[in-house]
């Protein structure tokens, strides 16, 4: 059986919902950040697959993927700076315990 667009979309859907599942169940900030990275990667796979199988005459999907990778790197760096600062002040990176701005 030839590998087509549908096969790659199935992989990307599975990756996306695994990331959502991790984001909903984990309470540790670093592991939640890892789930977000999985979600972004599934979107990248989608862009590349659509570019390859549906719009072979264009390169826009590749450019979107490159920009998403660049923005994901910036986002991860800022998130980790915030996590380290939070840990320094509260000695914990559990999202349930960092509630001092709640009330």
């Amino acid at each position: 059986m030839e590998i087509g667009l549908t096969h790659i979309l199935v992989v990307s859907v599975a990756l996306f919902f695994i990331g959502i599942f991790g984001f909903l169940t984990r309470r540790n900030m670093i592991t939640m950040l890892m789930s977000v990275e999985l979600i972004l990667n599934s979107v990248n796979i989608n862009f590349v697959a659509f570019n390859k199988y549906l719009y072979a005459g264009k390169l826009d999907g590749v450019f979107f993927t490159i920009f998403i990778i660049a923005i994901a790197a910036a986002e991860a760096a800022v998130a980790i700076a915030i996590i380290i600062n939070l840990f320094r002040n509260y000695k914990s990176i559990d999202v349930n315990e960092s509630d001092s701005m709640k009330y």
Binding site: N28, S35, Y53
Partner: protein, 169 residues
């Protein structure tokens, strides 16, 4: 079943298995290592689809940058050898229910949607073609987003330093 199909299934198993272990395993350092395996599998998928430049960017930025950053932050914040608390059973149950239902719905849409293939000459995704189109200033060029992303990276770098700097006691 030829060799290309087998390679695809090996890559898919690596990606999905690594991702699943990365979100369920309770030792945080092992979760980071499984995330690394999953990201390498995604780079392999880009190689499989003949996007060589994207695969090398994926390895350089994700595997070489982001995962190393995550592992450093694990060393700086958590005890890397200890296990995390088990999540509450009810939360796992309802999260699994929601994600599985949504996943089945999405797969159902993919199965019945008719994708329209855009006919036209194919462009080879070589570095030469990509560079020429990305930095062109004509209608389909991407020079403006390119510059905006460079400013965003500079701003986020300065922001990180300002956030993470230790205040003078």
């Amino acid at each position: 079943m030829n060799i290309s199909t087998i390679i695809f299934y090996v890559l898919a198993t690596t990606i999905i298995g690594g991702a699943f272990l990365a979100v369920t395993i309770r030792k945080i350092f092992r979760a980071a290592v499984f995330l690394l395996i999953s990201l390498i599998g995604i780079a392999g998928l880009y190689f499989y689809l003949n996007y060589n430049f994207l695969a090398s960017v994926q390895i350089a930025v994700y595997v070489g940058g982001i995962v190393v950053l995550i592992i450093f932050s694990i060393f700086l914040t958590a005890e890397s050898g200890s296990s995390m608390k088990k999540p509450a059973l009810i939360r796992v149950l309802f999260s699994a229910l929601a994600t599985i239902l949504a996943g089945i719905f999405t797969l159902w849409i993919i199965k019945w949607h008719h994708f329209q293939v855009n006919v036209g000459g194919a462009i080879e995704p070589s570095v030469r073609n990509m560079g020429r189109q990305m930095l062109s200033t004509t209608e389909y060029g991407y020079i403006l987003p390119f510059e905006v992303v460079s400013i965003l990276l500079l701003a986020s770098m300065i922001g990180c330093i300002v956030i993470a700097i230790k205040p003078k006691a």
